[in-house]
């Protein structure tokens, strides 16, 4: 099972690139210029990330270097353990619905400390990818059309964010063979 999954994921990237290029050619897309046109946006996106990453990486570094992170992990351990959530990702889970770039910075922090392929790295990746910045989306979407009464939308968003965290733990456990059916 595990070998099959790692084989699939090795093939996935080259295959995906091949399929996208071939499909583009078949549909008569000028693939080279389309690629260059899209890739141009990469620079702007990365540059826009700089202030967010500085802000969050500094804050998280302070939090970790002081020993506060260890303290939090120790305090939250019993509760989170019961939910099978590793305490290391708890700050990221709290930040995810509030700031997408902030939680992205925390994911990178986990990559640096534990590696992207570790259990924690996979969990952080899945948490980041499987949810969105609920508060931002609510503010922007409702704000753009002048809606001031959100009704139950915030409650639904935050509750489903929490379920997404649990679902991420479940999905990563499933893939790492920790759960057997």
């Amino acid at each position: 099972m595990q070998q099959a999954i790692s084989a699939i994921s090795e093939w996935m990237l080259p295959l995906l690139v091949g399929v996208i290029l071939l499909h583009g050619i078949v549909k008569r897309v000028p693939i080279y210029s389309a690629f260059v046109d899209g890739a141009k946006g990469g620079f702007g996106t990365a540059v826009r990330l700089i202030p967010h990453l500085i802000a969050m990486v500094v804050a998280v570094s302070v939090f970790r270097a002081s020993g506060a992170m260890d303290l939090l992990v120790k305090c939250l351990h019993p509760v989170l353990n019961w939910l099978h959530i590793p305490a290391e990702v708890a700050p990221m889970g709290i930040l995810r619905p509030i700031s997408g770039q902030g939680s992205l910075a925390m994911m990178i922090d986990i990559f640096q400390k534990h590696g992207p392929d570790s259990w924690l790295g996979m969990l952080a990746s899945t948490m980041q990818a499987s949810s969105d910045t609920t508060l931002y989306i609510l503010t922007v979407y409702f704000g753009s059309v002048g809606i001031s009464r959100f009704r139950y939308a915030l409650k639904v968003g935050l509750l489903s964010d929490f379920i997404s965290v649990l679902a991420s733990v479940f999905a990563v456990s499933l893939f790492s063979g920790m759960i057997h059916f």
Partner: protein, 198 residues
């Protein structure tokens, strides 16, 4: 909210350092953190540019239009209050497709267009309609086929399997989306009952 969390990270760190005696580590962390923040962003250019380029090809080849057609029955079920031929339906479909493909940059403007169209159907212009709440539930849970940004970051950190996250994300985001839709329906029913009484 973000202000509060940011402040908490700093203050709790500084206060903890007073007791643990790690103040020099903290001082160092402030300077080193800013430095690595910049390095991280610059390092990301390669991977983000690669994905944005590839997704542009997919977009121009009609991936969004293709997915929209496939999603139409799902959208009809999710948005019973929107007439199937209304422009709002088209915008909702395009928004859902862009989300699925992980083209976040495209999903947001399409979502905003859907909101504008839904607002034309909304009797009370200051209160969210049922369809709007559902659109937001679907968007915040964001079911994802290809999590482009996260794959890019994993490549940047020398992951042996950068795309391993595709499977886990699909499962987790599918569960999250089903939960969001169920919660949306549940709260809508509660909301109706409350309004009926009032």
């Amino acid at each position: 909210m973000i202000d509060f969390i940011w402040l908490t990270l700093f203050l709790s760190g500084i206060v903890t350092a007073m007791f643990t005696g790690h103040m020099s580590h903290v001082a160092n962390a402030i300077l080193k953190g800013a430095e690595s923040g910049v390095q991280l962003s610059i390092g990301l250019i390669s991977a983000i540019a690669l994905w944005l380029g590839l997704m542009k090809i997919a977009e121009q080849a009609g991936a969004v239009a293709w997915l929209s057609a496939r999603l139409r029955p799902v959208a009809r079920f999710l948005f019973p209050s929107v007439p199937p031929d209304h422009p709002a339906m088209g915008a909702i479909l395009a928004n859902m497709s862009a989300n699925l493909l992980g083209i976040g940059n495209a999903a947001t403007p399409l979502g905003l267009q859907a909101m504008r169209e839904l607002q034309t159907l909304n009797p009370d212009k200051e209160t969210a309609s049922d369809a709007m709440c559902t659109l937001l539930a679907v968007n915040t849970a964001s079911i994802t086929l290809i999590p482009t940004t996260v794959i890019a970051m994993r490549m940047q950190y020398h992951s042996a399997h950068p795309t391993a996250v595709v499977g886990t994300t699909l499962i987790a985001s599918a569960i999250g989306t089903v939960a969001a839709i169920a919660l949306d329906r549940m709260y809508r029913a509660i909301d109706r009952r409350r309004r009926g009484r009032a």
